[in-house]
């Protein structure tokens, strides 16, 4: 009888509490104008990535040799490139490539990082030591160089680029996850869960991970930006997504040879990348403040 009652209360209260916490974070987020601007900009870019093909004013691959290197005007918002293709349309269509690199690489990095990091953080001692020494070795090579080498080994194209950025990000994410797990591993609720005979994977998934959600969200937001930035660097070196596809970094580096005569071919993609990064950073800063436990009260 009493047992039933406790379960009943637990079930009815848990979702309500979760919802309110989520709403509270959203509320705090909406109070910061910079975060709202960043979030809105990012939503616009996500919208472009999904519906880019439908709203593009021109066919993104339409070659028009009579309108080569047109400067930005009302007809061609961002001008045209060396084959007379409309840059604005190409950027709209290309948003899905760029965003999928940013988000896809973070999914890989986070999955790998959660597994490796929670093993290191939770089992401690020997396992932790071995994993940390391996991570030390991996991180002795700067991240960008690691991404470049991985991209060179994995080959050209979208999937290798996502893989290279994702695998390169695992070591950093693992370290972040481990550090946060170590912080709360000693807390009473973990001891309580152990005392009622919860299995280790259950403790990690149900009790530990929800408590390190905020640093994970912050790191993923930053990581998406880092992935986009890194991918543009790869494209500049001729790795990653290749020119016929309208990925932003590839378009940017496509214009590098004519930057002195027709700067807009290079300027526009770079500007859009910078604005995307700005929106992600603004959103990340807002999230960092909104999720900060010090400010909760």
């Amino acid at each position: 009888m009493t047992e039933e009652k406790t379960i009943g209360i637990g079930v009815s209260e848990a979702p309500a509490k979760k919802q309110s916490q989520f709403l509270a974070v959203l509320k705090r987020l909406s109070r910061r104008p910079t975060a709202v601007v960043g979030g809105a900009l990012f939503l616009v870019i996500v919208f472009c990535a999904i519906f880019g093909d439908l709203i593009a004013p021109y066919n993104y691959n339409q070659i028009n040799m009579r309108e080569v290197y047109e400067t930005p005007s009302l007809r061609h918002l961002f001008g045209t490139d060396q084959l007379g293709r409309d840059i604005f349309s190409r950027m709209l269509v290309g948003a899905k490539y760029t965003l999928s690199i940013g988000i896809g690489s973070q999914i890989i990095a986070l999955t790998g990082g959660l597994i490796v990091g929670s093993c290191a953080g939770f089992f401690g001692q020997t396992v932790d030591n071995i994993i940390m020494r391996i991570l030390d070795v991996i991180q002795s090579i700067p991240g960008m160089i690691m991404n470049i080498v991985l991209a060179a080994v994995l080959g050209l194209g979208l999937t290798p680029c996502i893989l290279a950025m994702g695998i390169g990000g695992i070591s950093g994410t693992s370290r972040m996850v481990r550090g946060n797990i170590l912080k709360i591993r000693k807390s009473e609720f973990v001891d309580a869960a152990t005392s009622i005979n919860c299995s280790t994977p259950r403790i990690i998934a149900k009790h530990v991970l929800p408590n390190i959600l905020s640093p994970i969200i912050i790191s993923v937001t930053g990581g998406i930006g880092g992935g986009i930035m890194g991918a543009s660097g790869l494209s500049y070196l001729g790795l990653g997504v290749q020119p016929p596809h309208p990925e932003w970094g590839a378009m940017l580096s496509g214009g590098k040879d004519v930057i002195q005569t027709y700067p807009h071919v290079c300027l526009m993609p770079g500007l859009v990348i910078a604005v995307t990064m700005l929106s992600i950073n603004l959103m990340g800063d807002g999230l960092r403040d909104a999720l900060d436990p010090k400010l909760k009260k």
């Binding site: 002795s140 090579i141 080994v153 770079g270 990064m277």
Partner: protein, 318 residues
């Protein structure tokens, strides 16, 4: 302190060996065959087999790994497949350029970034804070090489104040260094601001103010030294960014450094050169990280204490 430095120096050896093994393993799985590349597409299978045998490419993984480690131990980085020149010489020529670019970039990034962050934190929520943080935000949002390309277009092509690429006198280095310190400076400013804000609300700063110290002394003597630890910790990340981004910037400005050589080797599919470049960059980076670790130990005595001998620890307790 000497003991700590020695221990950290010894700890570096396994990391460097580990990174050589790691890079070798990644390159081992690289598609493409150097022998076919050297001989060209018309070579017969026997010729390719013969060359592979001569280069030792047919040996098992562990034998080749051992051979690579042994030759690196003798400071022999191998011979380029493409140019046929010894890589130790090639890289020795290029390292000074890379070091100059990244080190000066890092130092300038620190010298501008930290004061900007501290000023922003001290004037929290005032116009100067907003302007400073806006600059930093724009700085971390721009791809460094894109910024470099814009600077070249403006200062070298349009205004003709500075040379667009190459190496030479100081004038050649202004644009590359400016573009390579961009990301680091912005990151440092943001980190300095947030850790300074943390410290400024702490009890000892309130105490220092309460006993009537002038504001300047409170900030520079009491707050900043305590805020330095996260900043120095962050320098490692800034250095990684500066070296990685510097690589692309070397390509933009055609500076003959390790990064430009690496980019060249990748487009030539010169695998042994790629491997050597990455190992050398990894070593330089590890040494830089060592310097930041030593700086941390100099700032924070707790870190040094972890490495002091047990005897001394006991003596301290007594």
């Amino acid at each position: 302190m000497l003991r700590y430095i020695l221990k950290r120096l010894l700890l570096i050896i396994p990391i460097i060996v580990g990174s050589i093994i790691l890079v070798f393993t990644i390159m081992y799985f690289c598609p493409g065959d150097p022998a076919t590349m050297i001989l060209g597409a018309e070579a017969t299978e026997e010729q390719i087999y013969e060359l592979r045998e001569k280069m030792g490419l047919n040996d098992p993984y562990i034998v080749r790994l051992g051979r690579t480690l042994w030759s690196y131990a003798r400071l022999d980085l191998g011979t380029s497949y493409v140019t046929g020149r010894p890589l130790t010489e090639e890289l020795a020529l290029r390292i000074p350029n890379t070091l100059r670019l990244s080190l000066i970039g890092i130092v300038i990034g620190l010298l501008i970034g930290i004061p900007l962050g501290v000023t922003s934190a001290v004037h929290h929520d005032e116009p100067i804070d907003y302007i400073g943080m806006l600059i930093a935000l724009v700085g971390i949002s721009m791809p460094g090489f894109w910024f470099a390309m814009l600077m070249v277009t403006l200062f070298a092509v349009k205004l003709r104040w500075l040379p667009p690429f190459g190496v030479g006198g100081i004038r050649y280095w202004i644009l590359p260094i400016l573009s390579s310190c961009l990301g680091g400076f912005a990151g440092n400013a943001r980190q300095a601001r947030s850790s300074m804000l943390d410290v400024l609300t702490s009890d000892y700063v309130v105490m220092a103010r309460a006993k009537g110290l002038p504001e300047k002394e409170v900030i520079w003597k009491h707050a900043l030294p305590n805020a330095m630890l996260p900043i120095v910790m962050m320098i490692g990340g800034a250095m990684a960014m500066s070296i990685g981004g510097g690589m692309i910037i070397e390509t933009v400005f055609a500076i003959p450094g390790v990064g430009f050589f690496l980019a060249d080797s990748i487009s030539n599919r010169d695998y042994i050169a790629i491997q050597s470049c990455v190992v050398v960059i990894g070593m330089v980076f590890t040494l830089m990280m060592l310097v930041t670790d030593l700086m941390m130990a100099a700032i924070d005595p707790r870190i040094k204490d972890q490495f002091s001998s047990r005897k001394r620890k006991k003596a301290k307790k007594v």
